[in-house]
Symmetry: C2
Subunit: 302 residues, 2 copies
């Protein structure tokens, strides 16, 4: 049984992926910055990954064969511009070196579609140039590039999961889907300010299942984690409004001309990793709307 260390395990993606890893037969060591109840087969560690001593103790305590590194500074909207990105880049590189030094075999790190040059629109891992427009994107691109080069030199296996536009439970309530659901459910007007934009949306639970498939594969280098099904933001917003039964409260604006199309080529994910995006994206969106309307997703999270 492979031992896996999941960082950011209490976060938006991490909380979805840890139970799947346990179900897939990994011995799961999960680390977060706050305490979590033991859940099933997951062993929780509490550590601040920005602290060198705590990093070392964590690796010594968990001795993982596999590292799924999801932790990063993720508070919206600050994370786009915060100097915390430099601290997380540095901590990530040091974590990876410690992981390799203690015998680690495979790394999967969380990258972002924000690494790409969005002027190209259709993003293919080894073709589309990187040109991050934000400090977050620059730090993620830096992290992925250096981990890739380092792993190549040390003959450690490493993949870099470029996550596209995720939605789902426990997302930040300021994001598109929860903000629409919460406004419309409360009978408040909602504005969709980039209606003409086309994006590649994926449910976070599907992203988690794609990450498990990527971890279990031997694929190295960058891999887009996305649906491969472009959707107009206006269509998504209209679906949410129709489901809630308040299309009258929705105003749609086309949004700025730049970055109108940002979608993923998922050929690597399908053909090399062997993961197929879900056929029924609407059902996943409906589940998410229900979650945000339920007590779990209620406004206390704002």
């Amino acid at each position: 049984m492979k031992r896996i260390l999941v960082t950011g395990a209490g976060g938006f993606v991490g909380r979805q992926v840890t139970p799947l890893l346990a179900a897939a037969g990994f011995e799961v060591h999960a680390v977060g910055s706050s305490t979590h109840a033991e859940r099933g087969a997951v062993m929780w560690h509490r550590a601040d990954l920005l602290d060198p001593d705590q990093r070392k103790q964590l690796l010594a305590a968990s001795r993982p064969d596999v590292l799924l590194h999801l932790a990063w500074y993720a508070k919206p909207p600050d994370y786009w511009r915060s100097a915390e990105n430099l601290r997380w880049l540095t901590a990530s590189l040091e974590l990876v070196q410690l992981f390799v030094a203690q015998g680690g075999e495979r790394i999967v790190g969380a990258g972002s579609c924000a690494e790409y040059d969005w002027r190209h629109g259709y993003c293919t891992e080894e073709i589309t140039p990187l040109r991050p427009a934000s400090l977050y994107g620059a730090a993620k691109a830096a992290c992925g590039g250096v981990i890739g080069g380092y792993a190549g030199e040390l003959q450690v296996s490493a993949a870099w999961a470029r996550l596209f536009f995720l939605y789902g439970p426990f997302d930040s309530p300021v994001r598109l889907v929860p903000s629409l659901v919460r406004s419309l459910s409360a009978g408040q007007p909602a504005r969709c300010t980039a209606g003409s934009h086309v994006r590649d949306f994926l449910h976070v639970g599907d992203a988690a299942s794609a990450l498990v498939a990527l971890l279990q594969s031997k694929v190295s280098g960058p891999v887009n984690i996305a649906s491969g099904s472009p959707m107009r933001v206006a269509d998504l917003a209209r679906h949410v409004a129709a489901t809630i039964g308040r299309p009258d409260l929705l105003t749609i604006e086309p949004g700025p001309a730049e970055n109108a199309f940002v979608c993923a080529n998922v050929a690597r994910l399908r053909n090399e990793v062997g993961w197929e995006p879900p056929a029924d994206a609407a059902a996943r969106l409906d589940e998410t709307i229900q979650w945000w309307q339920s007590s779990e997703g209620a406004p206390r999270r704002g």
Copy 2:
């Protein structure tokens, strides 16, 4: 008078640039890993930039307005693949944060043509994609990208000098020009193994003068530091052999098909920085040949 801190000041580029900065009116604080004699107006500090405490002490002692960050792991050929690149990336990012925190105003860092996707051949800063083929190139690209994003957020001025193929005194003796000079001067046969390749060569003294111009400008972002004059490697080798008077000892092989052309677009350097490459590159090459034949460049350096 602006205070400048030059890291790597005892290195190949640093030793050329420090006297020029002093001559240009900067109060020059120079730091290297070994002790150097005081030279003119340059104040030398000794510090290991990989040590957090020494970094802090250095910034506190020098309190620079301007940072010229040249220091990196540079031992050929190890530097292409060494994990030292991760340590220097981390140290560089922490140095830059300390510099900004104590009131620093402008940063110029040393990047590399190794950051670019060489399949494009002709490298233009904001157009040619980055796709480093080495860990060194990946770490330099990461460093430049993150410093650029960070400086943008903090409204600090930062430029990233992508140095192309430099030659000159105190280069590593294993590199093309010194290895040719030393073999041919000793009456030994010399092989030029990439004769058909075209590169952009620049004398390190000219690179130093371009860096001073870049420091004094307000230009931000990546800037190629190069001649803008492509040269066939075979022509350079033949010039060296002819100057030494031993063309009979030179064997030229065409070299691999890939990476046949790697040259810089120097429009930014010329038009925005206002620096003009030297008209007579052959004279600079001849000076370098003489230096490697002199006692200073003699084989003790091997």
